[in-house]
C-alpha cells in the first residue's frame, strides 16, 4: 500500500476526515497514479484513438420547411494540410486578421501562432462536439 493511501486511512481512523472525504482523496490518488496513456508514438492519448474524420451534418429542424440535408466528412489529414496553407498567408494579411479579431473582442496574435500550436489544436478536435438547433440542426463532431 502506498504512503499516501496509508496516510488517508490513518486520518480516517483518527476521525480527522469523513468517509466521503477519504473516498474522494483515494479516487484522486488512483487517477493521479494511472496518468495519461501513451500511444506507440509516445504521445499522450485519453484512452481513445485519434479521430480520422471531422463530420458536419446539417438537418432540417422540426419547425423548418426546408428538407435539405448535408453530410460532409472531412479527413483530419486534410484539415492539417489546410493549416499548412495558412502558413503561406502574408504577414500583412495576418495583421489584418489580428485587427479583425480585436474588433470582435478576441485578443489573439495570429502572427505568433506556430504550426505546433495548430497541430495541438487539431489533435484536441477529438473532444469537439457542436450542436446547434434552430431552423436547422447542425452537428459537428469527430469520428
Amino acid at each position: 500500500m502506498g504512503k499516501e493511501k496509508r496516510k488517508i486511512l490513518d486520518m480516517l481512523s483518527k476521525g480527522k476526515i469523513s468517509v466521503d472525504e477519504a473516498e474522494s482523496l483515494l479516487n484522486a490518488i488512483s487517477s493521479d497514479h494511472k496518468g495519461p496513456e501513451k500511444n506507440t508514438a509516445g504521445r499522450e492519448t485519453r484512452g481513445s484513438s485519434l479521430p480520422r474524420y471531422l463530420r458536419v451534418v446539417v438537418e432540417p429542424g422540426e419547425s423548418s420547411k426546408k428538407k435539405e440535408r448535408v453530410n460532409i466528412r472531412v479527413p483530419m489529414k486534410l484539415i492539417r494540410s489546410g493549416i499548412k496553407w495558412a502558413s503561406l498567408i502574408p504577414k500583412e494579411a495576418r495583421e489584418k486578421v489580428n485587427e479583425a479579431f480585436k474588433e470582435k473582442g478576441i485578443d489573439m496574435d495570429f502572427t505568433k501562432m506556430k504550426e505546433e500550436d495548430l497541430e495541438e489544436l487539431v489533435d484536441n478536435l477529438r473532444d469537439l462536439t457542436v450542436d446547434v438547433e434552430g431552423e436547422e440542426k447542425v452537428r459537428m463532431f469527430c469520428e
Binding site: R52, Y53, K67, E68, R69, V70, N71, I72, R73, V74, P75, K77, L78, R80, S81, G82, K84, W85, S87, L88, P90, K91
Partner: protein, 91 residues
C-alpha cells in the same frame, strides 16, 4: 494515400441511380512529371525574387500542395434535397 477514384452518385426516387466513376489515378502520371519538371523553374524564380516572402511562398507551395493532394482521399460530401441525393466521394 493519394486519391485514385472520384465517385459521384445521384439518386432520385422512382429513377435508376446514376453512378459515375472518374479514374483520378490517370491524372497523376501526367500531373506529377509536369510538376517535377517545373520545379527548377520555381526554384530559379524563388532565387530571383526580391522580396523574401514571395520566395518563401514559392518554395513552400510544393510541399503544401502535395500534402493537400495526398490528404484528399476519404473526403465525402452528401447533399439531399427533396427526392434527390447527390454524393461525392474521393477514394
Amino acid at each position: 494515400m493519394i486519391p485514385l477514384l472520384f465517385r459521384m452518385k445521384v439518386e432520385q426516387s422512382e429513377k435508376r441511380p446514376i453512378r459515375l466513376f472518374l479514374p483520378v489515378f490517370l491524372i497523376w502520371p501526367v500531373f506529377i512529371p509536369v510538376v517535377i519538371g517545373a520545379s527548377p523553374l520555381i526554384l530559379l524564380a524563388a532565387l530571383v525574387m526580391k522580396r523574401m516572402w514571395h520566395a518563401r511562398l514559392l518554395l513552400l507551395i510544393y510541399p503544401v500542395l502535395f500534402s493537400s493532394l495526398w490528404a484528399l482521399s476519404g473526403l465525402y460530401v452528401q447533399v439531399e434535397k427533396d427526392d434527390k441525393i447527390i454524393s461525392l466521394k474521393l477514394i
